[in-house]
């Protein structure tokens, strides 16, 4: 398929409008493919800001770029209007220490993130710091939003934030970008104490829902769609009242819904439905539940009239 002049001009305007542009699957905070995540991880550690385009959201751009760049895969990185390469080339340039030059960027100056450390958490950090001979307090936020609080060595690229009187926290540039706005608390429970982090940048996750919680939601009349991902054969054996079979028509209907809509996924034991639920989180839905234990758990806990099989 030949690239239309209009699309070519549109793509040209995107790569010319920003110093660095990454055409990727997903977004910077929520990459939808491992190759895109790898390149985001490398760029985050190097650049305070760059432009990304989610090719999954625009099939015309996705197809057009393959011709525009003469490159069949994603991600695709552009700098100063010129194609730099795909994931392999970015990794290779990075490993050789040549990526900054290829992108034409100076040493990164990363904005310090806003971090809120509660008095309780600060007290625990201070106590631990007294034993951490010469090491600094580090917070790492991986591109998959896993957290690591530790004492370690400072590095030259670190962003340093004073989080409380006399208490400083060190973050690599990528972590600094992802941590902005995070609150760190220390909570003591029956099992001992632990840090809790609440980060507004974290993408939505599938929430587990017990049968009793689902029953309560349905009783309250909370608007939700209960999606049965099993087969029609299984639905003939047992069905939760109000559930709908996930077929092509329902998938189409769901994908047209507001991304704030509540979706509950259900299967036999809660495994297949989790995969389906994650798929819809990937499509941007923010309130997605998986029924723990599936219809079997529902039958055992809530409604014994639903046959088990």
């Amino acid at each position: 398929m030949a690239l239309s002049e209009a699309l070519r001009a549109h793509l040209r305007s995107i790569v010319d409008a920003h110093h660095v542009v990454l055409f990727m699957k997903g977004t910077r905070l929520s990459p939808q493919c491992g190759f895109s995540a790898t390149v985001v991880g490398i760029l985050d550690a190097m650049l305070p800001a760059y432009h990304t385009v989610d090719v999954l959201a625009d099939p015309a751009v996705r197809d057009g770029l393959k011709d525009f760049s003469e490159w069949p895969t994603f991600p695709q990185l552009y700098a100063r209007g010129a194609f730099v390469g795909g994931a392999d080339i970015v990794k290779e340039l990075h490993a050789r220490g040549e990526l900054q030059a290829a992108l034409g960027v100076a040493e990164a100056t990363v904005k310090a993130p806003a971090l809120h450390v509660t008095a309780k958490a600060a007290a625990v950090f201070r106590e631990a710091a007294a034993d951490a001979d010469g090491l600094v307090l580090r917070l790492e936020v991986s591109s998959g939003f896993r957290y690591d609080l530790s004492f370690g060595d400072a590095t030259p690229l670190d962003v340093v934030v004073t989080v409380a009187d006399g208490l400083r926290m060190y973050l690599d540039p990528g972590s600094a970008y992802r941590a902005d706005g995070t609150t760190i608390d220390y909570v003591v429970g029956a099992q001992g104490g632990g840090f809790t982090l609440s980060n507004p940048n974290e993408p939505a996750k599938v929430k587990q829902l017990s049968p009793l919680q689902l029953e309560a939601m349905l009783k309250e009349g909370k608007p939700l769609t209960l999606v049965d991902v099993r087969t029609t054969t299984e639905r003939d054996l047992a069905v939760i009242e109000g559930s709908r079979l996930l077929d092509a028509a329902l998938e189409h209907e769901l994908l047209a819904m507001d991304r704030g809509a509540a979706l509950v996924f259900q299967c036999h034991h809660g495994v297949r439905s989790l995969a389906a639920a994650e798929h819809f989180v990937g499509h941007g839905f923010r309130e997605v539940y998986n029924l723990q234990g599936g219809i079997d758990g529902w039958s055992v806990t809530v409604d014994p009239d639903v046959p088990r099989y």
Binding site: W71, P72, G85
Partner: protein, 86 residues
Amino acid sequence: MSHHHHDAPAGDMCAALRASILTALPDAQVEATGGGGHYTLVVTSTAFAGKGMVDSQRLVYGAIAHLMKGDNAPVHAIDSLRTRTP
């Protein structure tokens, strides 16, 4: 909503990748490994002499583009592509 790959035996697809690259770059030595739609390629050819990484990889991608076209393409991803000169 699920990913569909053509379930051709992995060896057949590696052979198809190798053959396609050899058509475009007759002197090439090609190592193709992988399966399940995901492949790793190491290609050695004099055609890459004097070329940068982007242009070298374009030569290879150009040779296998027909195997990567469309949502149900037999080659879903090239996990890693390395180009070398002999």
